[in-house]
């Protein structure tokens, strides 16, 4: 049950996305990464649950090398929560939903 609320974003769209009025959670992932796949359904659930409050976006690091480089991403999945274009906090690895909720709440 893929959520249509998750935005797939590219390097070109990144700045506009994180500067939007509501906080943005960006999931940096790649298709060959198992834990990224494991966390996928949770990210989609969050997109449904936080619809209208938090933008949930995914960035494929294979197709978009610029943004991951800018944020020093050396492990995936890494999830960064942004508010007003600034990093609030980040987490790495296939963490549970409760930890992701905690991360999102830091920007609310």
């Amino acid at each position: 049950m893929a959520s249509d609320k998750v935005q797939q974003i590219s390097d070109a769209e990144f700045d506009t996305t994180i500067k939007s009025a509501q906080p943005t959670l960006v999931d940096f992932w790649a298709p060959w990464c198992g834990p990224c796949k494991a966390i996928g359904p949770v990210v989609e659930e969050l997109a449904d649950e936080y619809d209208g409050k938090v933008t949930i976006a995914k960035m494929n690091v294979d197709d978009n090398p610029v943004t991951p480089g800018k944020f020093g991403i050396r492990a995936i999945p890494t999830l960064i929560i942004f508010k007003d274009g600034e990093v609030v906090d980040q987490i790495t690895g296939a963490v549970g939903k409760s930890q992701l909720i905690e991360l999102i709440n830091k920007a609310l």
Binding site: A30, W32, C33, G34, P35, C36, K37, A38, I39, G40, P41, V42, E45, G72, I73, R74, A75, I76, T78, Q90, I91, T92, G93, A94, G96, K97, S98, I101
Partner: protein
């Protein structure tokens, strides 16, 4: 949210959980498999599986878990994606799962397949630089280390196999091991020793990971007490596993000193109707093949329990 009582709950969706699901679905037991994300477990961290029977060419961890999932689903495996906050066992009859949203589910029999996760070293710099050079998954993060020097800490199967995988990207990989020989399976050692991009530092522990915004070096301490440093851009910590047991009543389940769950050869724990299979079990060897075997045993044992109780 669907049903809130099942005859059998399978907790976890790695190889053990999916095998339990396969056997439960084929036995037409009223069941559900609960997984916090997509099924797969730790195998998803593995680049290549070369010791699972039936795959003479080997198989990627990713593909193997897709196949195991598809196999169980072919027999109508019932799964839900939810994170369990706690498991409550009260007397012989009450088995309850409480989810992070405070909703509850009860069952008559429970198979715990919650698995294990990578151990941490617990040294200065490790948490601070996690995701910034400190990694627990070579397969996931190797492409970020193209033409860099990295350290692999550990000497078991996972450490040595991942070191070999990392050489596809990194220019040099140094295995740092606290003993004077590797513990990995001989054939994995042979491959690593033949790989010219792998160096070894023996009888040495890593005592700190240093760097400003990302990993720059690891601090080493050898057996004789000599301190030194090694400049690396990545530190892969692959030193065994710790049980995923935060949600379990460990005392009631008579967990061992490390927090793994003791079970008999039929996988029964000390609580009637509660079984444990896979890496969460207290045992010597943690492989996909025995996780699957234990899970099949657990379902048969659970089926007997469900038939004979009361």
């Amino acid at each position: 949210m669907g049903k809130n009582h099942y005859e059998l709950v399978i907790l976890g969706g790695g190889p053990a959980g999916l095998t339990a699901g396969l056997y439960a679905a084929r036995a037409r037991i009223d069941h559900v498999l609960i997984e916090k994300g997509a099924p797969g477990g730790q195998v998803l961290l593995t680049d290549w599986v070369d010791n699972y029977p039936g795959f003479p060419e080997g198989v990627s961890g990713f593909d193997l878990m897709e196949k195991m999932t598809a196999h169980a689903k072919r027999f109508d495996l019932n799964t839900i994606t939810r994170e369990v906050q706690s498991v409550v066992l009260d007397g012989p009859d009450i088995k309850k799962l409480i989810f992070i949203d405070d909703s509850e589910m009860t069952c008559d029999a429970l198979i715990i397949c919650s698995g294990a996760s990578a151990n941490k070293l617990g040294i200065p710099g490790e948490a601070e630089l996690s995701g910034k050079g400190v990694s627990y998954c070579g397969t996931c993060d190797a492409p970020f280390y193209r033409n860099m020097n990295v350290a692999v800490i550990g000497g078991g199967d996972t450490a040595v196999q991942e070191a070999d995988y990392l050489t596809r990207f990194a220019s040099k990989v140094t295995i740092i091991h606290r003993r004077d020989e590797l513990r990995a399976t001989k054939i994995i050692q042979e491959i690593a020793f033949a790989n010219e991009k792998i160096d070894y530092i023996w009888n040495t522990q890593v005592t700190a990971i240093e760097g400003k915004d990302e990993v720059e070096r690891v601090v080493l301490l050898d057996k004789e007490g000599n301190k030194s440093t090694l400049d690396v851009q990545g530190a892969f910590i692959l030193i065994g596993v710790t049980p995923n047991n935060e949600m379990l009543p460990l005392e009631q389940l008579n967990a061992d000193g490390w927090g793994f769950i003791r079970a008999d050869k039929e996988t029964l724990t000390c609580v009637p109707g509660v079984f444990a299979a896979g890496d969460i079990q207290s045992k010597v060897m943690r492989q996909i093949v025995n996780a699957c075997g234990e899970a099949a045993t657990a379902v048969i044992a659970a089926e007997h329990y469900l038939t004979n109780r009361g």
